[in-house]
Subunit: 354 residues, 2 copies
């Protein structure tokens, strides 16, 4: 079975490389530690890859797209039709993730893992539909257990294809009207924290909309009773196809010793599932940013991940991840291109004052 | 007089452009406001420039370098010799600011505005020495009033040269062993906040070193009694040549309607002086990051500037500013390259739930 094989293939990162990389960083012409999180980032990426990279990572954003039956309950500020429309926007390169990925030299791969419409086979779209949107989780499970496995395994396969093509860094992306609702449900179950804390305004609900969304999630959890100890059960009952896909890609990347840059709240929900399957994959995750979506900060805290950016983003698609890819590149360039004290003939720090 | 002419030439930014730019941002295919600070940044840069730019800003980091007589008191973890050594490192491209400027496509211009050594006239170095380091401010004024004016006017001239060469975005940079001591003194005077709050470990002092540094700053303020209502007096008594240079470049950039990306704590001290001369120049400032240096956060708060990044940097040189230039570029690309709802045929938000 692909899923269990992938989980088994994930090895711990080589922590001796963290110290080794830091030792070089400490010889560069700057006060020790003065590049803060850039230094931490360089060391982590090197430890994940298992070696100092000979070139900058080849980066790809995998943007998984799917619809959510729960939109029937009126939990989003946008109509479901936007999911499919945004796929066309992605393919034409006009969405925010396209702009920001180009900016950092990353590719965007768009995966239809469950859009409610038939989009045909346009160039550039990877069609791996598990279904035409999930079912309404407020009335019963969002998907079958088989579909949940299929979603995760699809994510694994899509990630493996990217790795085969030479990618050495993957970033999560997603689009799907209704998916902050599914993510809040997953986050509530997986973190054990209050539903209110995990549920935010998504694409821009007003107070009444937010109250409604919380009530719908409460109903979904009551109707389905997902088992917090079984990530597959949680995904099937209150998840989404794109969330399963992202969980799978995280596992596959970790199994291939490739860093995964997490985007926002929905990516975080996928990470909760992946980490539940295999806690080791946490070490392969880079939290790009903390978003304006209410549940994101406590979710990251639960995962033990410190976000790199806080720019009040709440768009998804992989946008925040792109900005963090830029920081990864900057960190690795610092590591590779800066002169050491010795090379530059610069004096090192004086002995302590006492 | 160049200084007063420059101050007079600074006009308020065109705030109608903020709203106009936001109106376009709101038509792009994303929930309104969902790119958070990137949207704010795009609108601000457009309002500063006075028009939507037809291309990305041409960016230059001006790295002013000078020595500080107060190092005689033993207030730095590094010897003064490092200032001149780092100039050679800058010229060879091996310092952190070189790496990060290359990363974002910005130029670095290194200005010897008062290094204690004679560096000759090597290629790439702009030599505008006001003196061979400042005097020890713990014993008397760091420089004469005339030197202070000359430092600021040098910054103005260097910035004007950059503008003449086609630069449309300037970033502050600096290097000078001892300059967090001068900056903490300036910040204490200009913000009226406690010396302890404004004084940090610089390049890495231990507790004893920090206590000593605070005592030296206290002495400098007692000996000199700088007048908080007279920025030139403050600069002369407890400042530095590179700090004066940066204050001048901020004024010149604002007078030419060009955004200034502020680097760290020392740049912040220069900004305090510039804003005291002309409060309008605040609107031209972009705070790149909040550093790990203790006084930086309260200093930015005093200026009313919200930093874009928090990566625990504390290196200076212009390094944090480079990372923020990347965000400016990303913001402007979003503004220019994203499709509108109409162009992409994407439905807009539903009416509110009630």
């Amino acid at each position: 079975m692909i899923l269990s094989d992938t989980i088994r293939a994930i090895v711990p990162i080589d922590t001796t490389l963290l110290a080794k990389a830091q030792a070089r960083l400490d010889r560069l012409t700057k006060p020790v530690g003065s590049l803060g999180r850039l230094e931490e980032l360089a060391a982590r990426v090197i430890a994940i890859l298992g070696a100092e990279p000979s070139q900058l990572p080849q980066s790809m954003v995998l943007t998984f797209v799917a619809d959510h039956g729960v939109t029937a309950e009126g939990i989003s500020a946008y109509p479901s039709s936007v999911t499919a429309q945004m796929v066309w926007n992605f393919l034409k390169g006009g969405a925010a993730v396209n702009v920001l990925a180009r900016h950092v030299g990353a590719q965007v791969r768009v995966v239809d893992i469950g859009v409610a419409e038939d989009l045909g086979r346009p160039e550039g779209l990877v069609v791996r539909k598990i279904g035409y949107g999930t079912k309404n989780m407020a009335r019963g499970p969002a998907m079958t257990c088989e579909e949940a496995i299929k979603a995760v395994e699809t994510g694994i396969k899509v990630a493996l294809d990217a790795v085969k093509e030479g990618m050495t860094l993957l970033a999560t992306g997603e689009m799907g009207i209704g998916n902050t609702t599914a993510s809040a449900a997953i986050a509530t179950v997986m973190t054990g924290q209050p539903l209110e804390r995990m549920t935010g305004r998504g694409t821009g609900l007003d107070d009444a909309g937010l109250a409604k969304k919380r009530q719908v999630i409460h109903q979904a959890l009551t109707v389905n009773r997902p088992d917090p100890h079984d990530p597959l059960d949680v995904l099937a009952k209150v998840g989404g196809f794109e969330i399963g896909g992202m969980a799978g890609m995280i596992l596959a990347a970790a199994a291939n010793r490739i860093p995964v840059v997490l985007d926002g709240f929905i990516a975080g929900a996928a990470a909760l599932l992946a980490v539940a399957w295999q806690p080791r994959c946490r070490d392969y995750l880079i939290a790009s940013h903390v978003s304006d979506e209410r549940g994101h900060a406590p979710l990251l805290q639960h995962l033990g991940l410190a976000p790199l950016l806080d720019l009040r983003l709440r768009l998804g698609e992989g946008t925040g991840a792109c900005l963090a890819i830029n920081l990864v590149q900057a960190a690795l360039k610092v590591y590779r291109e800066m002169a050491t004290f010795q090379e530059a003939g610069v004096d090192e720090a004086l002995p302590p004052t006492r």
